[in-house]
């Protein structure tokens, strides 16, 4: 295998992320995964992303085809692309606001349909691009610009939700767990069927400073100390898991994909007609 060079996959443009942002870590993990799977370029990939900081990971920085959609609609756009061009690898990047807030319905339905794509959700627990508003992933009681008295609501356990909806692969890691994150991405990309990765990521600019974790180091330390491996979490009482980040591979299974079923149906219908 050639030596990994991130520049091989990137356009020569300055990245838009704030200092200390977790997005470059996720980007680097993904491109390393792609490299380790033997892809010399991104020709076989199409990237779809919606609105929010994480949507800028592929578009327009990856030297590849990318469709930057309206807010929350990256997955349905990916559905159209994948069904028409089933041999391409479709990867969706999005934030928690994009995929679990405004676009949640599409995420669940894509898992239910077993649409053969990979979705990488960067969960920074906040609406970062708009300056730090409460997201459906914001921890209980956390202070944000729209929850100045603390968040009234409890955050979504998105990965468990997606397992229940029928995903073939689902894993959660944090930007502290770069090795595991990269390995999970490799597994997701080679999974036949709907694959979901939740990358819990730091946003010192819009999240950290409001919850008393001002630096990237403090946020990564928090991820490290609060992460509980899935096997351990299964043995732990629910009340003891409050505020913890359960990490690991939640599911890995093989099921017939939407693309297979649709194209099989077309074959039969064409012969019948």
């Amino acid at each position: 295998m050639n030596k990994f060079s991130i520049r091989k996959y990137l356009r020569d443009m300055p990245l838009p992320f704030c200092p200390g942002c977790g997005n470059p870590t996720v980007m680097s993990c993904f491109l390393r995964a792609v490299h380790e799977l033997g892809y010399e370029d991104l020709r076989k990939f199409v990237f779809c992303s919606g609105i929010g900081c994480a949507a800028w990971i592929p578009s327009p920085y990856f030297k590849a085809d990318s469709i930057h959609t309206t807010h929350g609609r990256s997955i349905p756009a990916a559905t159209g692309v994948k069904l028409v061009r089933p041999t391409l690898n479709i990867v969706v990047f999005g934030g928690d606001g994009d995929l679990v807030g405004i676009g949640l319905s599409h995420l669940i339905h894509a898992a239910r349909r077993n649409l053969d794509i990979t979705v990488i959700m960067v969960n920074n627990m906040i609406y970062g691009m708009t300056g730090g508003q409460m997201a459906p992933t914001t921890p209980f009681k956390a202070k944000t610009t729209t929850t100045p008295y603390g968040n009234f609501e409890h955050p979504f356990d998105t990965t468990s939700l997606i397992v229940a909806a029928g995903a073939c692969y689902a894993a959660r890691w944090t930007t502290f767990h770069v090795e595991q994150l990269r390995e999970a991405m490799k597994k997701a990309l080679t999974t036949k069927g709907f694959a979901f990765i939740e990358a819990v990521s730091q946003c010192p600019t819009a999240f950290g400073k409001r919850v008393g974790l001002k630096t990237t180091k403090e946020l990564l330390q928090w991820f490290k100390e609060n992460s509980v491996p899935l096997q351990e979490a299964e043995r732990t009482a629910e009340k003891d898991l409050a505020g913890k980040i359960v990490v690991g591979e939640f599911v890995s299974r093989e099921l017939p994909t939407l693309t297979e079923i649709v194209h099989e149906t077309i074959k039969e219908a064409t012969n019948d007609a």
């Binding site: 756009a77 159209g80 028409v84 061009r85 041999t87 319905s105 599409h106 064409t270």
Partner: protein
């Protein structure tokens, strides 16, 4: 493989004619969400598209339906969705996205009585202005208005052709009456039907936005590394949101590529228009009462003529200005509370009186008798 229906005469429903025309036009992807009175299009295509190697999928909502259509179009397929008022409202954001990203696609809106759920099974023509101004920001849509089952077929094909020619979303704005009635329709032989496909880039092309009036469109997966975004973008498609000139040039080009070609797009059917004193300007189901009205008026010694709009947008301003010169009065019947009426009034700019005739509720059409009453009254007023 059954492709389009063979040359013959059929007795068919408007929605079925629309679906069959989509297949003839080369549609290979349909995404929809059930809604009265457009559902038959989805049902018909669910059966017929797979027979022709195409894909029909039911999405979780109308937002997803148009998003999937846009994705499919960038994957190289001619793509369509069909809906009615409430779904059309949900699609507005992505209509703007399709316009901004120059994504050819067809959006069928079978109008029903709104606002809101209104009278969901009854006909209306209340979405005319939404079709024009529904998305946010500056844009110019192409909107077609059929008035028969035959025209549901013809204009659906034309909608695809216009979408592919101008690399833009095209709206087929039909109504419940045209969509649900059954009529005789003649399917022409395939060599008599003009099918237009989008201009593809040459292997060496690197810019797919903002370089010429209608740039070539690559498909994803073809090695062009195309980046598609609804943000203001430069000719490579890369986001460029700080420069006023880039935004101005992009949006003005997008608007002008429709406006400058308005003469090629605009289509209307005129009847007894030379030297008539009363002109009736109508479209869609309402126009079906006009011919009889003209005959009835003739018997009363009133010389009336008709302009039937087959394209609502771009609006045929010049045509109306020219044809209205000798008229004493223009009547605009619509199944809404005045929409095209204001466009006509704006167009003739006070040179001719314009009279609105409006009816809503229960899907009741404006009858020839009602039109005649208004014509007689207005003639008396003029005299």
């Amino acid at each position: 493989m059954t492709k389009q229906l063979p040359l013959d005469t059929y007795f068919m429903q408007g929605n079925q004619a629309c679906a069959e025309a989509a297949i003839t036009a080369g549609c290979k992807f349909f995404a929809g969400y059930p809604i009265t009175p457009a559902t038959e299009i989805a049902e018909h295509l669910a059966k017929r598209l797979p027979q022709t190697g195409g894909i029909a999928i039911q999405m979780e909502d109308e937002l997803a339906a148009l998003s999937a259509v846009i994705g499919a179009s960038w994957a190289g397929a001619k793509a369509m969705t069909a809906t009615s008022g409430p779904g059309f409202s949900l699609m507005q954001e992505n209509i703007g996205y399709a316009f901004m990203t120059e994504t050819p696609c067809v959006i069928v809106n079978i109008q029903r009585a709104g606002p809101s759920t209104g009278q969901a099974t009854k006909c209306a023509q209340g979405d005319v202005m939404q079709a024009r101004w529904g998305t946010h920001g500056d844009y110019t849509p192409i909107v077609l208005s059929p008035n028969s089952v035959q025209e549901m077929y013809n204009l659906t094909i034309r909608a695809f052709n216009l979408a592919e020619t101008y690399r833009t979303p095209v709206i087929l704005l039909a109504d419940e009456i045209i969509a649900h009635m059954r009529e005789k329709i003649t399917i022409p032989p395939s060599n008599k039907i003009k099918i237009i496909n989008r201009k593809k880039p040459k292997k060496t092309d690197k810019t797919f936005f903002n370089t010429e009036e209608i740039p070539p469109m690559p498909s994803v997966g073809d090695g062009f590394n195309v980046s598609v975004t609804g943000s203001t973008h430069n000719e490579q498609g890369h986001r460029y949101t700080a420069d006023p000139i880039v935004h101005r040039q992009l949006v003005e080009r997008l608007v002008n590529k429709i406006n400058k070609n308005a003469n090629q797009i605009i289509n209307h059917e005129d009847h007894n228009i030379e030297n008539c004193e009363i002109i009736i300007i109508s479209y869609g189901c309402t126009s079906r009462a006009v011919h009889e009205t003209i005959e009835l008026a003739k018997k009363r010694g009133i010389n009336a003529g008709s302009i039937r709009l087959k394209t609502l947008w771009p609006f045929p301003e010049k045509t109306i200005q020219t044809l209205a010169k000798n008229a004493k009065m223009i009547l605009v019947p619509e199944m809404n509370l005045r929409q095209i009426f204001y466009e006509v009034e704006r167009t003739v700019h006070g040179t001719v009186p314009v009279l609105p005739i409006n009816k809503i509720g229960g899907g009741e059409m404006i009858t020839p008798e009602e039109l005649l009453t208004e014509i007689t009254r207005s003639v008396n007023n003029i005299e």
